[in-house]
Assembly symmetry: C2
Homo-oligomer: 214 residues x 2
């Protein structure tokens, strides 16, 4: 398809598509003469991914370029390729390891992974931004005197593991490896806000079931 | 306790506590003479809540004041009081109802609530920001050609309902109604980032289980 069709199919303006091409976020089309290039389904898919990250995820262009670099690096295994792509997304800053709450949270997170038998996640604790986010959020809860127990944390973790199984089952329905990696990145940008919305809706439903509207 | 003790117990500087008092985010202490006021456990709890919203949730002072107004309004029933407090938190903007994807997403969300039997949530669709967020995020997925089915959405919703049951069970362990409402607001600010971290960790674990690290 030509640029105008690519624009029509994607709902992205030709000016924006040209900008993405210049920034290297979209691979060049196949040049069929000096002024015309031809684009295919792969361009359309990539354009949707870029738009999701920039317009929905509000992710900076340089970060999008970095994520796409990992998405396209087929020299890596799938877990690492996925990890590298997701890890390049904006993350929480490194926690202060001198802080007593951070140290306690780290012990709590490590105990959780051990109890759950998440042996793979345990191998990644020194490098995974997800692990770092968990430590930061548990430390924030502790600092505020939110005195819950390890069992509650485990119940939440088990629910999130079921969500991860659903995510990966869906990713596996995609035909090509490139589509699978792209779907995983899209999921991180788009599915997380949806889960949060469902969570709050479920709280409203459950609250009204327990206490009514009076 | 005196101001200095309140500061020591909460880890919040006396200058910041004075600022919160001036802004009306913290009720005044009991004046025991012209220059000294006495604070109690309730001040400490409120201070933690304010700090969580401002420092962890990055919520503007005016919004915090609005949320606290609902938290403290004991003329309302618990569901409404909780809803009013959570709804005052920053939310997604109103979706464009002229947009075909938004209309389709609304139908999908309505069908979901019907199928799930969430009759209470259905009563709130015209006013609930959580419902609006769901419509916005489903519309974004649709617009990007993320062609999943209604069954997957329902599976996610069921998981989030279990998370909501855990949330409210924990809220009910708090002794006073004021603490229960405060815990619910803290949960929205602090537990959601933790769920997201657990979700990503679970994805790493599940991905490595399925595909290894090669």
């Amino acid at each position: 398809m030509r640029l105008a069709e690519l624009s029509r199919h994607s709902g992205v303006s030709t000016a924006t598509i040209k900008y993405y091409l210049r920034e290297g976020l979209l691979p060049p089309g196949r040049q069929i003469n000096a002024t015309t290039a031809e684009y295919d389904e792969e361009h359309l898919r990539r354009l949707r991914l870029v738009r999701a990250m920039i317009q929905v995820g509000r992710i900076p262009v340089a970060t999008v370029r970095e994520v796409l670099g990992h998405v396209d690096d087929d020299s890596l295994g799938r877990t690492i390729r996925l990890g590298a792509a997701l890890w390049a997304l904006p993350q929480v800053p490194e926690p202060d390891t001198e802080d007593a709450h951070v140290r306690a949270a780290r012990q709590e997170a490590d105990a959780l992974l051990r109890t759950l038998g998440w042996t793979n996640a345990r191998l990644l604790t020194t490098i995974s931004p997800a692990y770092r986010s968990l430590v930061v959020s548990v430390a924030a809860l502790r600092r505020l005197g939110y005195d819950w127990d390890a069992e509650l944390l485990m119940s939440y973790a088990e629910l999130m593991h079921r969500a991860a199984v659903l995510d990966l089952d869906f990713v596996e329905t995609r035909e090509s490896e490139a589509e699978r990696i792209e779907t995983a990145v899209l999921g991180a940008v788009l599915v997380e806000p949806m889960l949060q919305a469902l969570h709050r809706l479920a709280q409203e439903e459950e609250s009204a079931r327990r206490y009514g509207f009076e």
